[in-house]
């Protein structure tokens, strides 16, 4: 019973990592590649670490696996945010079909100005 659960979880986890890798190979743009790879690879590694926590009947291994999952979930978005911000600042090109909502941007700017005018 435990073996079947481990097989299902490890297969789903490795398929999530394969989807992340196909995304990083096939996506047309840096920002889309970043958006695909961080989430799917974190999900896959998390599922494989849950497999390790189930496979070993030991409290220390479970604690270690939970610590690694917590660390990955905490640090992967920070690293993705840093590298995405640096890519935007250094002018990495967007995909030609990327749609930018101008009206929403103006709305955000107006809200920002209104809040600044309200402050004093």
């Amino acid at each position: 019973m435990t073996d079947i659960l481990l097989m299902i979880l490890s297969t789903i986890g490795s398929l999530a990592i394969l989807i992340a890798s196909i995304g990083v190979l096939r996506m047309p743009d840096f920002y889309l590649r970043l958006s695909v790879t961080v989430k799917a690879s974190t999900l896959g590694v998390g599922l494989l670490l849950i497999c390790a926590a189930i496979a070993f009947p030991d409290v220390s291994v479970t604690t270690k696996a939970i610590a690694i999952i917590f660390f990955l979930v905490l640090t992967a978005p920070i690293a993705a945010h840093m590298i995405g911000r640096v890519a935007y600042r250094t002018g990495v090109l967007r995909w030609k079909d990327t749609y930018i909502d101008k009206e929403d941007n103006e709305l955000l700017n107006n809200d920002h100005q209104d809040s600044q005018n309200d402050k004093p």
Partner: protein
Amino acid sequence: MTLTEHFNYVVFPILTLAVCFALIRLLRGPDIVDRVIALDLVITIGIAAITAFSIISFQALFLDVAMILALIAFLGTIAFSYYIHKKNNND
């Protein structure tokens, strides 16, 4: 089909295919940030492979290596983004 056979014939070939795709992007990447995220993905697949190998070899000690590798991947990405930003400001 035992657990070891399942890991040997299903999980490890999928992870090998994934690391091959990430290495193709690492070689082809048109910009340096593409290479950085491809390297990050390679290290993440390495963490997954170490975890799978620790399951099939019944050695829980290998999870320490996975933890250190996760730390190094985070610090590497942060250092790459810091130095790319600094180089762009100096130009």
